[in-house]
């Protein structure tokens, strides 16, 4: 592995702000993993989600980005799927890959998060139970 961080502090900060904004806007737990994917992306995403949320009803969205494989995968839990359908996830993937094609990795992820959050909309009463979310995916106070 290369010495040093892949992104500058500003880029990391931008990604974290976009993720926190999406989470705040929707009440859905968003997480982004950037790095190599060992195996089938959908299976890897499913496994990660399984360890992130206590049960499938919890609303969570995971973005897997593998720059080396030029691959992006958006995974939603069964709970989040009602608000972030496969079609919406596909559109977000299209938005991200458009930016990735021109070399804008961070911008693509930020745009993808925004698009997913806009599509999911504000949380309804049934989905705004912060206590229902896993402690592991609670937004950190950074």
């Amino acid at each position: 592995m290369a010495v040093g961080e892949a992104f500058s502090h500003d880029q990391t900060d931008r990604l974290e702000r976009a993720r926190a904004a999406a989470e705040q806007q929707t009440g859905i737990a968003f997480a982004v993993r950037i790095g190599a994917i060992d195996g089938e992306p959908d299976l890897v995403a499913e496994q990660i989600l399984a360890n992130q949320v206590p049960n499938p009803r919890v609303e969570a969205v995971l973005l897997l980005v593998s720059p080396g494989d030029r691959l992006v995968h958006v995974a939603t839990t069964a709970g989040a799927k009602r608000r972030v359908s496969d079609q919406i996830a596909g559109l977000a993937v299209l938005t991200m890959t458009s930016s990735f094609t021109v070399g804008d990795l961070v911008g693509g992820i930020v745009n993808g998060l925004r698009q997913l959050a806009d599509a999911a909309g504000a949380p309804s009463g049934a989905h705004t139970r912060p206590g229902a979310r896993s402690a592991a995916i609670e937004p950190s106070a950074r």
Binding site: M1, E5, F7, A31, G68, L71
Partner: protein, 108 residues
């Protein structure tokens, strides 16, 4: 204004010393350069400029901090999490599947 005047007064005599010389030569009696001298001057300046640029580029890239990921290059860094990574309690077996998941994939 004062600085410009001062500089002008100081530099004008310096620049005009050649004109005050007894013999400044003419186009019919130039002091010829040998081929080696001409190559050394005109080629050396160009080569020297390139070398200087290369040295400055190397120095700046060394002092610009750790290497960042450049789009299009292979990913050679550890995985990065934006948001908290999944936490598996010690002694607990990791879950392998979550029913009912959805999503989409794409390549670029």
């Amino acid at each position: 204004m004062l600085a410009v005047t001062g500089l002008t007064v100081a530099t004008l005599p310096l620049l005009s010393t050649a004109a005050l010389a007894d013999d400044i030569g003419d186009s019919y009696s130039p002091d010829p350069l040998s081929a080696l001298q001409a190559w050394a001057i005109y080629g050396g300046v160009v080569v020297g400029a390139f070398l200087l640029a290369i040295v400055l580029t190397l120095l700046s890239s060394r002092s610009s901090g750790p290497p960042r990921y450049r789009p299009g290059r292979p990913w050679s860094h550890d995985e990065i999490w934006v948001g908290d990574p999944p936490a598996v309690a010690e002694g607990e077996r990791p879950h392998v599947a979550l029913p009912g998941t959805g999503g989409a994939s794409g390549r670029w």
